[in-house]
Point group: C2
């Protein structure tokens, strides 16, 4: 059946990307991982590059759907960190975030990949924006924060740390601990009284204006 083979190829592409990396994927390695004939890559997707682009979107859509519900339940920065940590632990073991890292690396020198990767990444940032907007709604940051920008910073940092984890697991753990501290500091600001919060708000506003000029 056609749609079955298509799905096998998409999943095979993700598996190949995970085990071989962007430098090691080929129509042959993908077909082997998918358990189908090599020529079918070209019949169904035209070229290896087009298959890679399609697989990035396909895989990301599935993952984002799986985390939509946990994200919905998040009500505080602390809970967001907890979900983020779980996502990192689970998907790091499954190797699903690495796939985006590999695509991102390939995208640096391949405009077609760049478009596909940007779209796949956008699926994540949309969700992160939603959560951040809700979580920051009551904090001093919420009124001035560039939530879309923050969402992109979170997504980019996440991928960077995912790539780091493979070469330096201890460093990765330490980095996550440090980010927890940062979150704790921000939550502390939320718990300040009205006067201090107003001062914090002013400080951030001033700093933002300064950074926009720079």
């Amino acid at each position: 059946m056609s749609s079955d083979t298509r799905d096998r190829l998409l999943q095979g592409t993700i598996d190949a990307l995970r085990t071989q990396g962007i430098a090691g994927v080929s129509a042959r390695t993908i077909a082997a991982a998918a358990g189908v004939n090599q020529a079918l890559v070209f019949y169904h997707f035209g070229s290896v590059d087009e298959l890679l682009a399609a697989a990035a979107m396909w895989s990301t859509e599935q993952q984002v759907a799986a985390y939509r519900e946990p994200f919905e339940r998040v009500r505080s920065l602390r809970e967001l960190q907890k979900v983020g940590r779980e996502l990192h632990t689970r998907e790091s073991a499954a190797g699903n975030v690495t796939v985006l890292g590999q695509m991102l690396a390939g995208a640096q020198t391949n405009p077609a990949f760049a478009a596909a990767t940007r779209d796949a990444l956008a699926l994540w940032t949309v969700e992160i924006e939603r959560v951040l907007a809700r979580v920051l709604a009551d904090s001093p940051l919420g009124e001035v924060a560039d939530v879309p920008g923050l969402a992109r910073a979170v997504a980019a940092s996440f991928i960077g740390m995912e790539l780091l984890a493979a070469v330096d697991p201890e460093g990765d753990k330490a980095a996550f601990r440090a980010l927890d501290q940062l979150g704790a500091l921000l939550e502390y600001l939320d718990d300040l009284g009205p006067a201090s919060r107003a001062a914090a708000r002013r400080a951030v506003r001033t700093a933002v204006r300064r950074s926009v000029r720079a």
Copy 2:
């Protein structure tokens, strides 16, 4: 002269990595970029992989040396952000950070690359640790912060955002603006009076203990 050819190959590797990515580098593309014969890759470095590992260290050593002085002059979080932004702008245009991203992508499936990339990355984190320790010395964060962890988070995020910049320049700009806001918030904490700072310190300590248990 031998050392001349070695250097040409090292620089050619960086150039090839920048223009072709990890998926596109080969003894042939490297030799072409270096302007030397292809067989010299194997004479001087044994294999393409060994040349890539050597080039990652070689290039990173140069870059870190170039930023040692600006880093030395940094006295506040604000100044650190300014230097970081300059580094991002300049090296993004020159494509020197992308090289580490490409190595990191290759390292996910190649243990030899992983070791080389960890070592190259360590050159950066050592410098960042030094600056962070100095900058945070007088803040509530300084006493409890996991400075090595924070340095690794900064390095990983930097590479993630560098990779993002190529596929989404606007998103990258927005992400940097958001991080400036974060820095502004942290600086605000530094400017609090002694009573508030003591409270912030306690909040962070409690949160850190909580996150260590988790």
